[in-house]
């Protein structure tokens, strides 16, 4: 059976240090404004507004909008589910940027082309971890084969994550636990 690769983001382990996205930038030498992976604050729940994070790169959707709208067929899905963008085809129309619900494709103003996370497919093919997975000090990110992997409590969405029904992302989440907090305000 074909693989279905996705990122598993353990929000319980993640402490929002941004190492994943900076390691990605470092290895692929991205332009300053381009971020293939981004660490987002989860704002709406857990009573801890800015202290829980979602580290997101491309969600390598089963039904990618980028691929649907791209007029030059720059996007393709590998057998293992990784969504690749062939930058040599890109003409910089930015349709994918508009269509992706997850702000994934980004415009490189120097090349005037779009680029995005490719799940370090080369590294995966060599049996290595993706850059973000290898770099995360908390070991909060992993890549999983959704066809094989099963664990209780795995979520396909978190507060603030746009509706997964649109494109069927392969990213999965483990939500954070909260300890006891004794605060001196009335909200604690």
């Amino acid at each position: 059976m074909a693989k279905k690769m996705g990122f598993l983001v353990n929000v319980d382990r993640c402490f929002g240090c941004h190492t994943c996205e900076m390691a990605c930038k470092n290895v692929y030498q991205l332009e300053p404004e381009v971020r293939w992976r981004k660490v987002y604050e989860i704002k709406e729940e857990y009573n801890l507004p800015e202290r829980s994070f979602m580290s997101l790169a491309c969600n390598h959707c089963e039904d990618p909008e980028c691929k649907r709208v791209c007029p030059v067929k720059a996007y393709s899905i590998r057998e293992d589910g990784i969504v690749l963008q062939d930058q040599s085809r890109c003409i910089g129309c930015k349709m994918c940027i508009m269509a992706c619900p997850y702000e994934v494709p980004q415009f490189n103003t120097k090349l005037k082309k779009v680029e995005k996370c490719h799940m370090c497919f080369e590294r995966l093919d060599k049996g290595q971890e993706t850059v973000c997975v290898a770099a995360c000090p908390a070991e909060a990110i992993s890549t999983i084969d959704l066809e094989e992997y099963y664990q209780n409590g795995i979520l396909d969405s978190l507060p603030g994550f746009p509706d997964p029904d649109i494109t069927k992302p392969t990213t999965r989440f483990i939500k954070p636990r909260t300890g006891i907090q004794v605060r001196r305000d009335n909200n604690g």
Partner: protein, 273 residues
Amino acid sequence: MGEFPLVIFTVLSQLAVGALITVVLLDHYSDKIDKSLGKKLTLIILGATAVGLGFSLLHLGHPFEAYRALANLGSSWLSREVVLFSVFTLLLIAYYFQWQKDSSNKKIVGILASVTGILGVISSGMVYVLPAVPAWNNFSPLVFFILTAVVLGPLFVIAVLKLHGITPPSNLVGIAGILLAGYLLSFILYTSVLFSSAGASGQTAAQMLASSSFWLRIGLTWLLPLGLIFWVIRKQTSEYKYLAGIFLLVFAGEIIGRYLFYDTAVFLKISGF
């Protein structure tokens, strides 16, 4: 004004399609357009289309590779839009020569071009039907793009006819007025639906209403032109300055409206608003 090229492209291409349909219909139902005017109108329409397409290239990172946008007809409305407007342009050229030759196929070519143009406008609309932009993810881009075509087109042709000393058919101004009023009603309906919805759509409506351009647009596209049309019909006048004024007001309103369309669209955002 990041999307300025797209504003120009969409409004001009829609104006062209609407104008062509008007010319084809007038040619069929009246004798107001003679050969020289027919050629002239077709050339202007062709020019507007070409300028629009030219602007659309400026939107691209690599304009000279635009031809490759034909690659994904299977699923990309942008590919389809490119094909349809390319064919539309070719048919316009053919239409011009039909006028030139007084060919009996003129009507067929005109109808073919009109249908292609309408399909082109529809595909322009479909480009923006995106789940990632809730305010667009419905019939509205389609409906409003078609309305732009059918409102601007006749008003434009009316003005050109009058410029050449030809009084447009009396009911044409009325039809344009009715279309414009219909446009206003559907716009009010759309805005109020947006306004009452939550999330990105509600945000879009809020941004629109907060923008002074929005109110300018309401005045330019609808209130002033509708008033003028009413007045023109009431007074039974067809002075050029009024007819041209109506067109220019609506045209300016549409440019602002299209700018707002892009500018106030709120995309789905991670971590909410």
